[in-house]
Symmetry: C2
Subunit: 581 residues, 2 copies
């Protein structure tokens, strides 16, 4: 029977608890959101002693289910003030799950502020070691040292200097398949909450662990094969398919073409530098620079989609892995930067400092809009991260706390966020459904919480007119399906395949039934997702959120977006329907 | 019939409107809050084009009613995100009222950002003049120039560099009786809203104005005399009484004795430097330095309380006027500073920059608590204001945006505020009623919105045990009475006298009846106040405020306050009763 591991940072104690009966079908996001809902006072200070952080692998994480190495990190967000689930793909949760641990709860508050700890979890139990020697350093310097010290067969969760300084852009960093500090539960500042608790690293060594208990191995295997087949046959997810070839940045030209690629702090919907900063450009530059075609790799063992790219400079030296669509957008178009090498360097800096690329790109864009530096000034952007944020200068603390904060610092009202979280790489004025998700998601503006871009732009899972304002039901359905997928431990990208291939969706549900011994239908999985959303929503309501927080930034209602000159025109009533269930 | 003056900053137009029938009994706070409620979208960005600022003299302002030169400034606050009414005493509203103007509404948004205007109002109409030559300068340099240019018989409203930079601590500055830029509608950042609209000054020249219409002069005169008599006989408000001798800072030793004088960012309730920074110390230092006893003066013509002090240095040169209780506390005890001359210099800097002493003192205290500089470092505090805020450096922009903002910048959870506004000079853990007001006021933490200190500490208006947690009714009564007084145009300090002397209260109501031709009773005045509160509350609800925002900062619930080691223990249910009417 899987356990919960409760770690108290006040007295540096750890205790294994039986998974309560009521949690037995919960994992991933369902588990983190439920524990935060059950145990955290929604009015607590996010950086105070009463907040908690929960880390949870998904239902099938740690098994050989394809593309299932996701971890959910849950907390009360210092960025939004609401509940947060932010997830990443890494071997870390796979190892945790194989130790028989369904979730880790971090609570308490350090007696000695400013002291940081490394927590080591193995079959022999939990050890706390001082992390002083790693504090204040870049993660690219530190992760190799940790692998050297604890062996390669571990997973590392860590926070960077941004988390140490409790900045609201601070993410939670997991190692990628080659040990890089590059897979992020980035959004919402969970890294700052860990920083406030003195947690610098959690190392998981699963050697000798019991593995994931599977109630019905045959059913699991049946489901796994169906899902695998779907992933291998869909154009987006198949080997040498769109994601494997161009990475997520394959979206750049598509969204740009649609006039929905937010440019220069959401002043325009099309960026003249898009082709130079796209997934195709990454592929072509690599080909030229390395003299061969380079296909992408997995972020964790067992992923069949394999969308992680590595980007090389003219000398054939690695600049960074990986350049995601949202990252090339955030630090590219949104800042008016069309230099892909510079964008790569900026992403590397984010990874090194432990910050969310989406929020920080949005932040730099707001600062540029407000006049701190000109759009396109990539040298200035590098300086902001490498000097100001890294050293925690006053300007670094402004930038490090995100776009809404930076807007306020400069008295600037063009801040394209919802609930304090900046919008990602899809213009809601041009694609209404994603705007409905931004406005109503329990997470703040977040594309991953209800990716209606699939039917609105990609013709995946049906087709929807991007300009049609009636998107409440579509967004709700996507939000619910996502909440379920985020609980299974699968990467959200399986959605491309299972939305178009029904047997893939069945396979997903059968996998879960196989592990948990349940007999859910596809319909049940939707209800499961809705239950997760309901708890998150209740937490947010108790934290003080109302319908007034489910609204788009005002400027989008009166400022038309070129090239299509569209404003945000979804009626408030449509927004209020999303959570009326 | 009084008029409304509507000024549009988009096209620099001004238009006089008849006072709508439904507004005919509204003035001061009742008028500003009603117009903000009626005309401003509660979800608008405070610094965007759709916010407005309303300035309104009270019902009797401009008449010879004693102590009645108050102006209400209403807006959606960039500090709290809710409705704001912040008032000051000055000749400015008296002159405005004598021009027959009940309120000025500022709306629109400058076409040329960064351009500032001087608005000149006289019987001949409204003129717009470029204010460029005054931008970026200290108000102590600028106000004398304006008097030189426009004559001494004017009132000046202005914003300082903090307002120009749209900082959330920016107040609205009115001249005092000797022309100093020192009477502030300080709280809530209304200066930033004016800054966002390009309004630098509003000058009022009432020469040849019609004066205030008085419907029933005899009744007015009868009320005026009763109120005058009460003010002249009460120990707190009479000539050479407590306020006239020691100023509001007479409270320092009283609150300190009660263990309710917040010290070093609300870490303690008693300050060892209190006697050195009290009203008595101001009086004694002046006596020693000037060789004579100096009693206080009025902040506007016609005030009989006359509580404004002027503080002199060892050479007999003026340091500043005036050192209020909340200012000596904010920049003294709360920052661990016991040097009264330095406190005087800090207040002068606030006046010069155009910032709220209470919020900025709380901000510096939070920064000190978070480790930016040590408690007691008055040289550092001066540097923060005179160099960082004045120049708008990144650190200046952090500090200039207030305590909650600064707490967030430094990842610090000990921020003693409610709804984003820092608490003033009364410790809610030691005096529960004022805490109930802080928590529930529509204004954020604000002592002036329901001053239960009167019965809890001063034995004025009855007696109440400061530790008794049942304070909902007391706070509501004080909040309602205050909302009425803030609408009459009287200074809140008349409350000391009228709470103890019933004929004074009657006189107040008769004065209003005399001006408006109404026949209100004392009971009606309470209902009037409740109506104002109701509108403010509705605005805040629509802006997204819930009961979760009517709560004290979490640390006060678990951190006992020396010397009495009390925590915040008023049940949430008690807080929720305040607005259950």
């Amino acid at each position: 029977m899987a356990k919960l591991l409760r770690i108290n940072m006040t007295d540096l104690s750890a205790k294994f608890e039986d998974l309560p009966e009521k949690y037995k079908h919960l994992a991933g996001r369902a588990l983190t959101s439920t524990i935060i809902y059950d145990e955290v006072d929604p009015t607590c200070h996010p950086l105070g002693p009463n907040n908690k952080v929960v880390l949870a692998p998904g239902i099938v994480t740690g098994t050989n289910a394809p593309t299932s190495g996701r971890v959910s990190v849950g907390t009360k967000s210092p960025l939004t003030g609401g509940i947060k689930e932010t997830n990443a793909g890494s071997e870390w949760p796979q190892r945790l799950a194989r130790l028989g641990i369904r979730g880790v709860i971090i609570e308490g508050y350090p007696k000695e502020p400013g002291k940081f700890w490394l927590i080591h979890i193995s079959k022999d139990g939990v050890k706390f070691e001082p992390a002083d020697e790693y504090v204040g350093k870049g993660l690219y310097e530190v992760y190799p040292k940790l692998f050297e010290r604890y062996g390669r067969k571990i997973g590392i969760m860590g926070i960077g200097v941004a988390g140490e300084m409790r900045m609201a852009t601070a993410g939670v960093c997991f190692n990628d398949i080659e040990g890089r500090p590059s897979r992020y539960s980035g959004r919402g500042g969970a890294g700052a909450v860990l920083g406030s608790k003195g947690v610098k690293f959690i190392i998981v060594d699963d050697e000798g662990g019991p593995g994931v208990e599977i109630a019905n191995p045959d059913l699991f295997e049946q489901g796994r094969k169906k899902l695998l087949e779907a992933l291998r046959s869909h154009d987006i997810t198949k080997p040498k398919g769109a994601l494997n070839t161009y990475g997520t940045a394959v979206l750049v030209n598509i969204l740009n073409e649609a006039g929905a690629y937010p440019t220069r702090n959401f002043r325009e919907g099309r960026f003249e530098g898009a082709p130079k900063t796209s997934g195709e450009a990454i592929f072509e530059n690599n080909k030229k620079r390395l003299g061969k075609e380079l296909y992408n790799h997995a972020c964790h063992p067992g992923c069949v989609i394999q969308c992680s790219n590595t980007y090389y400079d003219e000398q054939g030296k690695e600049i960074v892995s990986c350049i995601e669509y949202e990252s090339t957008w955030a630090l590219g178009a949104n800042c008016g930067i069309d230099n892909l090498d510079a964008i790569g360097k900026l992403i590397w800096l984010c990874n090194d400092l432990g910050i969310d690329t989406i929020e920080i790109g949005g932040t730099i864009a707001v600062a540029m809009d407000a006049g701190l530096l000109p759009f396109g000034d990539w040298q200035g952007a590098i300086r902001l991260l490498d000097e100001e944020v890294r050293k925690g200068t006053p300007l670094g603390r402004i930038i490090g706390n995100g776009a809404a904060f930076t807007g306020k610092a400069f008295g600037w009202n063009r801040v394209p966020g919802v609930k304090g979280q900046n919008m990602p790489a899809y213009e809601p004025r041009a694609v209404k459904g994603i705007g409905v998700t931004y406005a109503t998601s329990t997470m703040g503006a977040d594309h991953t919480s209800g990716y209606t871009i699939a039917p609105e732009i990609l013709s995946v899972g049906g087709k929807a007119d991007p300009r049609d304002v009636r998107k409440a039901e579509l967004s709700r359905n996507f939000q619910a399906a996502t909440a379920f997928i985020d609980s299974t431990g699968h990467c959200l990208f399986i959605a491309f395949a299972i939305l178009d291939i029904p047997s893939g969706y069945e396979g997903l549900v059968e996998e879960c039934n196989g592990v948990l011994g349940t007999n859910w239908t596809v319909e049940d999985s939707n209800k499961y997702g809705l239950e997760v959303l309901k708890k998150e929503r209740l937490f947010n309501e108790a934290a003080g959120f109302t319908k007034a927080h489910d609204r788009m930034p005002e400027f989008m209602k009166y400022e038309p977006l070129p090239p299509h000159n569209v404003v945000w025109d979804v009626p408030d009533e449509e927004l209020d329907k999303v959570y009326a269930f």
